[in-house]
């Protein structure tokens, strides 16, 4: 039984329509508040009736998200939101399915499901709230925490090498890969809209500040004083420039990246022009992952790294079933009878 999607109603939805009567219980100052606000701002603009949204989450601070969104939602179990959403989307391609997950949920306990969802390319939107820490369990290091990090479970410093989430997504052949941050509402809204617009699996990593257990993890990228020099905002068809006055640019010399100063004899024409459809260059972009404390480090890119068109799992599944139905009538009695029958009088 498929439910048919009602035609988009003529009423205009507002962010308020997407809020619930449940008290939001994140810690005061948590980056999640901003992400919730941006999602509530973007969803009404997508032209989709509220009942056709489904938000699936796993476990962790971020995974409380569905309780605060007045759409269909499921707060499931640790790491499995991606797998549950896969089944939901296979069953109901008509729905707009969003997955809200954290760095522990999607890259540690649920890492397997994340990569498999990406390779299958279900048309869902993954919002990965990356705060590089386990918040709900009160402060252990996560699979994205930097090396040597001191946490409750690593009093002598973490000896784990962290994941680079976007490089991992590239490795899993994701068809839409982007990064944004909680502290830049406009950029985040744009990235949410772009994630939705992509027909296929969208992987959006959102740098999210945990002001209790990992405060300031991304401040070098998000705070006014350093943002312009440390963050590189990617735009399709535009050269890679950054700096307070857009005076710095990135040039490709073979496979090497060179930062050049446009005020010191270099021209914009020399710079790398971002092309979202370029698989190889996207790999290089995801590897711009330097520790900002190092000398001569590269800025961290934000924006859409890569987008490709590949058939979605649910589209192919629907086609395959249609093809099978066209070829062979579904006759239950014939199936039960089989090919070899004998009669006992």
């Amino acid at each position: 039984m498929e439910t048919t999607t009602a035609p988009a109603p003529n009423i205009t939805l507002t962010p308020k329509d997407f809020a619930t009567d449940q008290e939001v219980r994140w810690c005061p100052g948590c980056g999640d508040y901003s992400i919730l606000a941006q999602v509530q701002k973007v969803m009404p603009t997508l032209g989709i009736p509220r009942e056709n949204f489904a938000i699936i989450s796993g476990i962790g601070c971020s995974s409380r998200f569905p309780y605060y969104m007045n759409v269909f939602g499921m707060h499931s179990i640790h790491g499995r939101a991606t797998a549950i959403a896969s089944g939901l989307k296979a069953a109901r391609p008509d729905l707009s399915v969003w997955i809200v997950t954290g760095d522990g949920d999607s890259l540690s306990i649920g890492g397997n499901h994340t990569i498999h969802l990406l390779r299958r390319n279900f048309d869902v939107n993954i919002l990965l709230f990356n705060n590089q820490i386990y918040g709900l369990t009160k402060g252990q290091y996560s699979p994205t925490s930097e090396e040597n990090k001191i946490t409750k479970s690593t009093p002598y410093g973490s000896i784990d090498h962290p994941f680079n989430p976007l490089a991992l997504a590239m490795g899993a052949d994701a068809t839409f890969i982007a990064r944004s941050m909680d502290r830049d509402p406009k950029h985040l809204q744009t990235m949410l809209s772009r994630s939705h617009a992509h027909h296929g699996a969208s992987f959006l990593e959102i740098y999210q500040n945990c002001n209790i257990f990992n405060d300031g993890a991304f401040e070098v990228f998000t705070e006014k004083s350093s943002k312009a020099n440390e963050s590189l905002f990617l735009e399709h068809g535009q050269p890679l420039v950054f700096g307070a006055n857009k005076e710095k640019g990135i040039k490709l010399d073979g496979f090497n990246l060179i930062v050049v100063n446009l005020n010191e004899g270099h021209s914009v024409d020399e710079l790398w022009v971002h092309d979202e459809s370029d698989l190889y260059k996207a790999q290089i972009l995801t590897r711009m992952f330097d520790d900002p404390k190092l000398e001569h480090h590269l800025p961290r890119p934000f924006g859409v790294f890569y987008q490709a068109i590949r058939p979605t799992y649910e589209d192919m599944l629907t086609q395959q079933i249609q093809h099978a139905k066209d070829k062979k009538v579904a006759d239950l009695d014939k199936l039960l009878r089989g090919n070899e029958v004998w009669n006992i009088a």
């Binding site: 039984m1 498929e2 439910t3 999607t5 009602a6 619930t20 449940q22 009736p49 509220r50 009942e51 056709n52 489904a54 699936i56 569905p66 309780y67 007045n70 759409v71 269909f72 939602g73 499921m74 707060h75 499931s76 179990i77 640790h78 499995r80 797998a83 549950i84 959403a85 896969s86 089944g87 939901l88 989307k89 296979a90 069953a91 109901r92 008509d94 729905l95 397997n112 499901h113 498999h116 599944l317 395959q320 079933i321 099978a324 139905k325 070829k327 062979k328 009538v329 579904a330 239950l332 009695d333 199936l335 039960l336 009878r337 089989g338 070899e340 029958v341 004998w342 009669n343 006992i344």
Partner: protein, 623 residues
């Protein structure tokens, strides 16, 4: 030459050979041929966990046991009348099960020095040449040589020619039992239609085997088993996993729900995935997930979206799925979890049978997590039993665990298949709008059976959130309130208990309503218990048989039945699991009979056990 035909009542044949010898195919072909003649039958395939264990060795032996009879039969038989041994290892592994005076058809080429050594016979010992097989009727033939000879005109390698050996054997047995070979010829044509060489060589070997029996003067007797006197109707042969897949499809057709199977391959459950994947024209969606957990999680997602989510696995997979099963229980959405049990614990005995997941199904989750449990007792019973599992899942908004096992899954039997019109309707009702007086949707508002509404995404006005956290009664909002938690735990238990009102009462399969011994079984022990009790009743013992399909909740009259007998005996292929639950729920001092060898209980063993429990034959015993 004079030929005589001898009519037999009951025959047990075992085809045994190297796992590359094609014994499973030979067995299933002979089975289908037998079925078409109208004999009753029961099969027991028995194969190694390794796909190809080293050739010629004892662990590499693959067997297929078939029993057919002009009587109604319920087991593949305790001991063999005929053993087909393609090599020395096959003989060594199976000889102990051959009746005294039984026939051994041996491929003499499989008893050369190398094969004898691989089968661990001492140097210089060859059982088909020494006296050790005295008391058996040994029919030796060089099947390898004769097959090669028959195919001498074919342009193919010796290795390829040798692959047709099993067809030679099959042809010979078809002669021995006076069979027509049409069904196998047709089967080969369908299977190898596009490979004329292979088709021709197989057909040729098949006919050569038949003609060898027909023309060689050594064999003077053909055997015949009459049609069984079974209930009138149209029959087909069916295997357990196949019946299970068909049951799901039928439930899909009759409920109007699309089946979504989220699963991960595991022995002995994978055939359900294979079968359902073939039936996409019924709209079935199959999803081979990245792991067991993803399989059930995707099925939960599909059920949330309004499909019927199904996941299939075996014991180790259930262990992995436990947390997600708890979520489905908490969400209160329909889901069918199929466990085709195998020998455990851990990886255990993947290709052997066991009933050792009952306690896992009952208790294997964190917290108070009641989930209904249903079991199948024979291959064809999988159809009806899984249909019931779907009905309960959908009508009671609950996950349901379905227990089958390796013996049922791979066994075959005649099936008086139903007509789709005779299948009970499965009622599905999505909630589509707010009811009168409702201002806000309450996802945990319940009906008289404590069943909550199924409101699927896409339904305007019913947007709501559910999850694994404890929820407030009625509203479903997150709640940590102590009284509410106690209330919700009790409600979820009562909801499952109330299913007892919607399932049939327990009936006796056989025997008097009161008496000395009640043999209480579940699952694949059905056939052996039935056979043992039937024979004891004929001898005048006061013994009855009840077989459970519904294991949680139990049928509402079960306690009453248990109290009608002096002794309750519970035979199980485990270390005593149902017995623990029965003792717990009914305070009955039940006795166990437990065999934990990865193989079924035999009639002889069980008859012996029951006799020890019943002091005397009573005049009141029904016959």
């Amino acid at each position: 030459m004079e030929r005589k035909q001898e009519v037999l009542q009951d025959v047990v044949i075992k085809f045994a050979g190297d796992s590359g010898d094609g014994m499973q195919l030979t067995g299933t072909q002979f089975t289908n041929n037998t079925a078409l003649l109208g004999s009753d039958l029961s099969t027991f395939p028995d194969f190694p966990a390794e796909i190809r264990a080293p050739q010629g060795t004892l662990p590499g032996v693959s067997g297929y046991q078939l029993r057919f009879s002009s009587d109604s039969i319920y087991t593949p038989g305790d001991s063999l009348d005929v053993l087909v041994a393609m090599n020395a290892a096959a003989l060594k592994t199976n000889l102990k099960n051959l009746k005294k005076g039984g026939k051994i058809i041996v491929n003499t080429d499989g008893f050369d020095t190398k094969n004898l050594r691989l089968a661990n016979y001492p140097d210089g010992v060859n059982p088909i040449e020494d006296e050790s097989l005295q008391g058996y009727e040994v029919i030796g033939m060089d099947i390898t040589k004769m097959t090669r000879e028959a195919l001498k005109d074919y342009q193919m390698g010796t290795k390829e020619k040798d692959r047709a050996k099993n067809m030679f054997v099959l042809g010979f047995l078809y002669w021995m039992y006076g069979r027509d070979m049409n069904n196998t010829e047709k089967f080969l044509e369908e299977k190898f239609g596009r490979k004329p060489d292979i088709l021709e060589s197989n057909l040729k070997a098949l006919r050569a085997g038949y003609n060898y029996g027909d023309t060689t003067e050594t064999f003077t007797t053909q055997y015949k088993v009459e049609k069984a006197k079974i209930e009138a109707g149209s029959y087909r042969s069916i295997m357990g996993n196949q019946a299970l897949a068909y049951g799901l499809i039928a439930a899909s057709v009759k409920s109007g729900l699309t089946i979504f199977l989220g699963t991960y391959p595991i022995t002995p459950a994978s055939d359900i995935l294979h079968e359902l994947s073939k039936q996409k024209n019924f709209g079935i969606k199959t999803f081979q997930a990245e792991d067991e957990i993803a399989g059930i999680s995707a099925a939960i997602g599909a059920s949330y979206g309004g499909h019927l989510g199904v996941t299939t696995t075996s014991g180790p997979g259930i262990a992995l799925k436990s947390e997600a099963m708890g979520l489905a229980m908490m969400l209160e959405i329909p889901l069918v979890i199929v466990d085709v049990q195998r020998g455990g614990p851990s990886t255990g005995l993947p290709t052997k049978t066991e009933q050792s997941d009952l306690l896992q199904a009952y208790y294997g989750r964190n917290g108070e997590s009641p989930i209904p449990v249903i079991s199948a007792s024979t291959p064809s019973d999988c159809f009806e039993a899984v249909y019931e599992a779907v009905r309960i899942a959908v009508e009671h908004m609950t996950p349901v665990i379905f227990l089958s096992d390796g013996y049922i899954a791979n066994g075959a039997e005649p099936w008086k298949y139903p007509s789709s019109n005779d299948l009970r309707t499965i009622h599905v009702s999505y909630k589509t709008e707010l009811g009168h007086g409702e201002t806000k949707f309450q996802p945990y508002q319940r009906d008289e059976n404590l069943v909550r509404p199924w409101a699927i995404p896409g339904t305007a006005g019913l947007e709501h959130r559910i999850g694994g956290l404890e929820k407030e009664n009625i509203t479903g909002n997150v709640s940590y309130d102590p009284e509410n938690h106690q209330l919700m735990v009790k409600i979820r238990q009562e909801k499952v208990d109330k299913i007892a009102l919607n399932i049939p009462e327990q009936t006796l399969d056989n025997g008097p309503e009161k008496g000395d011994v009640l043999v209480l079984g579940w699952g694949s022990t059905y056939g052996v218990i039935k056979t043992a009790v039937e024979s004891l009743l004929k001898e005048g013992y006061s013994v009855a048989h009840a077989h459970l399909r519904y294991l949680r909740p139990f049928p509402r009259n079960l306690g009453e039945i248990l109290r009608n007998y002096k002794t309750v005996l519970i035979p199980e292929i485990n270390n005593g699991q149902l017995i623990k639950i029965i003792r717990d729920q009914y305070l009955v001092d039940a006795k166990g009979y437990n065999k934990i060898m990865g193989i079924p209980i035999t009639k002889t063993e069980l008859v012996e056990e029951i006799k020890q429990l019943t002091s005397s034959r009573t005049a009141t015993a029904s016959i």
